[in-house]
Structure formats: structure tokens, C-alpha cells
Amino acid sequence: MQTFFQQLINGLSLGSIYALLALGYTMVYGIIKLINFAHGDIYMLGAFWGYYVINVWHFNFLLALLSAMVICGICGVVIEYLAYRPLRHSPRITALITAIGVSFFLENGMAYLFGSNARDFPQVVKQVNYDIGGVRISNIQLEILITSCILMLILQLIIKRTKMGRAMRAVSVDNDAAELVGVNLNRTISFTFALGSAMAGAAGVMIGLYYNSIDPLMGLTPGIKAFVAAVVGGIGSVPGAL
């Protein structure tokens, strides 16, 4: 029983990070049916950004998280604009290869600039373990759980309550029809990339904090796992993801 709860706690805190990652994946998939291989690498960028600002500019956790979200959001939009937008009307497999290219670029670009060694993530939050009936919970786990819940809630609100969210849902159902009723397709897709990438950036910073180890290839495995989850789970639609 103890083991079970321990696994549950560990699973929940880790799972909530992956959920953030998978959400972005699904949103992009739902809107332009693109398997965004580079999504995992945006998460890696987020982790490195967090590493950088905490070490060099001595940001605190919250500031690092927010700045990483902004930076990754911008990265996502730029990538979409440069690499995916020209291919919107090409065969999907072409866009997939481009996404793989972007993924290679980010991974190896980071490896070139910062070296491919794993590095330790600065521990901005001092770890404290709580022992509840034999189950250990650390404050970091709690913090991760709370942060990701808040982020998911915000995401939910954006999608359900705002005009942009409505546009996103419309595009995910039928982008031609959405365009006919006056949805700005380009803006909506950019916004989706920004939102998804920001979530990935937040996940990156949190995973850095949780594991204390980041490297340029860290996005690869979660990327493929999220791809499997996104397709097998059949959560291609934005509302479905939530």
C-alpha cells in the first residue's frame, strides 16, 4: 500500500509535467494535423533557458518559469512561421520531415553551442521532504504539481472562454469552414504554437528542477512518447485534450 502511494505521488508529479508537454503536442496536432517532432526540443530549450537565467541572472523559480514560457512561445511562433507555414498546403509527410529537420537543428545546435554533456540544473528551491505515513513527498513535487495544475487551468480558460480559444476549436474541426466564418487562420495557428510551446517551456524548467539534469537530447524520448500518446490516445482535438 505504501509502495503504491509512493508510486502514485511520483507518478502524479512527473505525469503532470508530461501532461503539459502532451497538451502542446495535441493542440498543434489537432489544429494542423502535424506531428510536431520538434515539440520535445522546445521543452529542452525551456530547460536550458531556465538553466541560463538562474545561473547568470539569478532569477528565482517563478521568474525563470515565466520567462522560459515567453521565450519558448516566441520560438514556437518563429519555427512555425519559418518552417511549417510555407508547407501548409504540401503533403503532410513533407511537413513531418521538416519537423524532424527542425528537431535535429535544435538538438544539435544546442549541442554545438553548449556541449552535449548532461549538466546539473541549479537548485533554486531547497528540497524539503515530508513524510506522511511512510510516503515521502518533497516540496519540489508539490510545487510542480501545483504549478502545472494552475497552468492547465489557465489553458482551459483560454480555450473555453476567449475568442481566440473559440477560433482554435473551430480550426481544429474544419479550417476551411473556420476561415469562411472569419477566423484568421494564420493568427490562430501562430497563437496555438505560442501557447503549446509556452507549456513545453514551463515543463522544461520544471523537469530541470525535478531531475536536476538537462542535456540537448533530453527532448527526444518525451517527444516520441508524446507523439505516441497524442495519436493513440486519439486526443487530436483541442477540447479532447483537456
Binding site: Q6, A111, S116, N129, R136, T221
Partner: protein
């Protein structure tokens, strides 16, 4: 008419096949006597600079560059009275076997190197053997650990393949002896890296030698980040220690997560974790009661002049503590230098002969002797980490 067409087609086909087989015979056999030395001594580096093992490859590259720069600053290598400088040719093999073979072919044929350092992994290493053997160019791998790496299928030694590191059997059985005799453990759990021969080879050697009971045996993959599930399953097994052969990137996390999960038994590892980054990833507080077998000890180094000089030079140049991989690569280059000096020639075939004769070579990672199987024999040390710092080093005989 129809029949003649068939005949023609079949005829053409046979001609082509025959031509192929003949050509195969006439081209494949072009024995080489090796690459003679030119104005400078050319050393090729076939290294994992990108791909899965890029981290280790780049550390080795730093060690190689340091060694070569030091040698060149001192005027070069003394080849039968004449000082010759080293030209370094560095190529990336993407951590891929086919690219490694291609890189090796390019180094020995195009660049006409006299010796090769690398690759870091056994798989990439074995892939280059056919090409370098054909060209009679020796290679020294800093970190290919598979016991059969230097051997042919028949069990005879590969004439042009050498290594600067331990082979798995030696290191694994040393760890087993240490765990049983020095730590007095009776029940251990084995947690090995399953994605390379390094982790599985060591685990196999450990299990074979360990006299106590192996209570549990689990594997993980390179790049895994979450070991909580496995560690939690160990918790109930009443183990005295964990043997976890692998590299520091995963081992750091294993140490960290084990301590967080309340598993405070000794964790024993291998030279793949002999890196200052281990304690950084695990956190200094967690990196206690951690042991690993290593040829290269910062503690031993303080008594060893060669090692001390290397450590200082490395820190000065790269502004970080020297990892084991860099030390092994540094030694690989200097072993080649040693071989050239004994043979008084830098022709590739001579270097191979010289490497086989390396004896009591004063390396950073200890006094190295190349045995008949082209393995590097050198003393082995078990280092103990306490609060992230090396607190003790025991030499195992």
C-alpha cells in the same frame, strides 16, 4: 524469336554475374603495408562528436587535443633523432557503426594517418576494425570495454586494435570482490545500463564473481530519467548494496532518487561515473556512501606526478575538473607517442608493433602495460564519495 530473347537475357545476366565475381576477386585483395610517416605524424580521431555518446566523445576530444598540444609545444615526438610534430585530424562518427567505418576508411586512405585514437564505444570501434586492418593502421580506443573488442573470431588478437581502458570482466569482478570483501555485503541488487555493452558486460562479470546473493536485477536505458519505480521495488528486497554500472548522466539521477526514496545502502558503480558531474547531478548531500571502480583517482593523482600535471593543465585550459574519459584519451595519445619512441619510427605498422610492447608506461590513469590480448593492464582503485567529494581511495590487488 521469343526463345532467343530469353537466351540473350539469361546470357547477359550470367556475364554480369561472372564479371561481378571476377571483379570481386581482382579488386578486394590489395594488401597494404601501412602508411609511412610524412613531414608530420598524422593522428586520426574517429570520435562520437554527435549522437547518443556525444558527451563522452567530446570529453575525449578535449583530452586528445590537450595531449597533442603539449607534445607539439615540446617540439614533437622524437622519431629516430628527428623531432616530428603531430597533425591531428578529427572526424565525427555520429555514434553510428556505418559512419565509423566510413570515417576510418577516410582517415587511413585519404588522410593517410599513422595511427587512430578512438572511437569511444565498442560498437563504433569494432566497425572500424576491417578498414584499419586492411590499411595496417593501429588504433587505440580510450573506452571500448567489451572483452572481445581486441580479439578476432578465432580468439587470436586483432593486430591493430588496442585500448587504454579496462575490459569489462576485470572491472566487474573487481567491484564484486570489493562489495563482498571490503563492504561485507551479502545481498545486492544490480541495476545496469541495458543500452550498451558496457553496462550489461559489467553486470554479467559482477554476477559471475560475486559470492553473495544477487537479490534483484533490473535494467535501464540510456536517457532514462525516472528510476523511482525500480528503486521502490528494491526497497523491499532487504539489500545491502546496489551495483549500478553505467554512465554518470543516469547514475547521478539514480543516486539522487535512491537517497530521496530513503535507500541509503552503498551504491557501487564503474568508471563511467568517475566524473565530477556525478555529484553535481546527484547533489552533494546525496552523493555519500557511493563507490566506484576507476583507474584514475584524483586522490591517487596527488601522489602521481603525471596525473597531477595533467589535472592542472586540463583545469587551466578547459576550466573544469578533468573527467576520466579525457584522462583515458590523453593516455591513448601518449601511448602512441611511447610506441613511436620505442620503435624509432612513426610508420603505421611500426606503431602497431610498438603499442604491443608498451610496458610500465607512466600514464595519467596509472602504470599501463599492454598484455598479449592488447588490453591495458593497470592498477584499479575504488574511490569513495562522501558529500560529493572523494574521501578515500582503496587500491584493489
Amino acid at each position: 524469336m521469343r526463345k532467343s530473347v530469353v537466351k540473350k537475357l539469361i546470357g547477359l545476366g550470367t556475364v554480369m554475374m561472372a564479371a561481378g565475381i571476377l571483379a570481386g576477386c581482382s579488386t578486394a585483395k590489395s594488401e597494404s603495408k601501412g602508411n609511412p610517416v610524412g613531414k608530420t605524424i598524422k593522428i586520426g580521431v574517429n570520435m562520437e562528436l554527435s549522437g547518443a555518446a556525444a558527451g563522452y566523445g567530446n570529453s575525449q576530444k578535449q583530452g586528445i587535443q590537450l595531449a597533442v598540444d603539449q607534445i607539439n609545444k615540446a617540439g614533437g615526438i622524437n622519431v629516430d633523432g628527428k623531432k616530428k610534430k603531430i597533425t591531428l585530424i578529427i572526424k565525427d562518427n555520429k555514434t553510428s557503426t556505418s559512419t565509423s567505418a566510413s570515417v576510418a576508411a577516410q582517415l587511413v586512405n585519404k588522410d593517410k594517418v599513422n595511427a587512430i585514437v578512438g572511437p569511444a564505444t565498442t560498437n563504433a570501434g569494432t566497425a572500424q576494425i576491417p578498414n584499419i586492418t586492411k590499411a595496417a593502421v593501429p588504433s587505440v580506443s580510450p573506452s571500448a570495454t567489451d572483452p572481445n573488442f581486441t580479439l578476432q573470431k578465432s580468439g587470436k588478437v586483432q593486430p591493430y586494435v588496442f585500448r587504454a581502458c579496462y575490459q569489462n570482466n576485470f572491472q566487474g569482478s573487481t567491484a564484486a570482490k570489493f562489495a563482498y570483501t571490503d563492504l561485507k555485503t551479502k545481498r545486492v541488487a544490480v541495476l545496469a545500463d541495458n543500452s550498451s555493452d558496457y553496462g550489461t558486460g559489467l553486470a554479467k562479470a559482477f554476477k559471475k564473481t560475486y559470492k553473495g546473493k544477487v537479490a534483484a536485477s533490473q535494467y535501464f536505458q540510456e536517457g532514462d530519467k525516472d528510476f523511482n519505480a525500480i528503486l521502490t521495488s528494491f526497497k523491499n528486497k532487504k539489500i545491502d548494496a546496489i551495483y549500478a554500472p553505467g554512465y554518470y548522466s543516469e547514475l547521478g539521477l539514480i543516486v539522487k532518487q535512491a537517497r530521496q526514496a530513503g535507500i541509503n545502502v552503498p551504491i557501487i558503480g564503474s568508471d563511467g561515473m568517475a566524473d565530477p558531474k556525478l555529484a553535481q547531478i546527484a547533489g552533494d548531500k546525496n552523493a555519500s556512501n557511493v563507490y566506484y571502480t576507476t583507474p584514475f583517482s584524483t586522490r591517487v593523482a596527488s601522489q602521481n606526478g603525471t596525473a597531477k600535471k595533467f589535472m592542472n593543465a586540463f583545469k587551466e585550459r578547459y576550466n573544469e575538473e578533468a573527467p576520466t574519459f579525457s584522462a583515458l584519451a590523453y593516455d591513448s595519445v601518449n601511448m602512441i607517442k611511447d610506441a613511436i619512441e620505442t620503435e624509432k619510427s612513426a610508420d603505421s605498422a611500426k606503431i602497431a608493433a610498438g603499442l604491443a610492447k608498451v610496458k610500465n608506461f607512466d600514464g595519467v590513469t596509472g602504470k599501463i602495460t599492454i598484455d598479449s590480448k592488447h588490453n591495458a593492464n593497470k592498477p584499479i582503485v575504488v574511490e569513495t564519495l562522501t558529500n560529493g567529494k572523494v574521501s578515500a581511495a582503496t587500491e584493489i590487488k
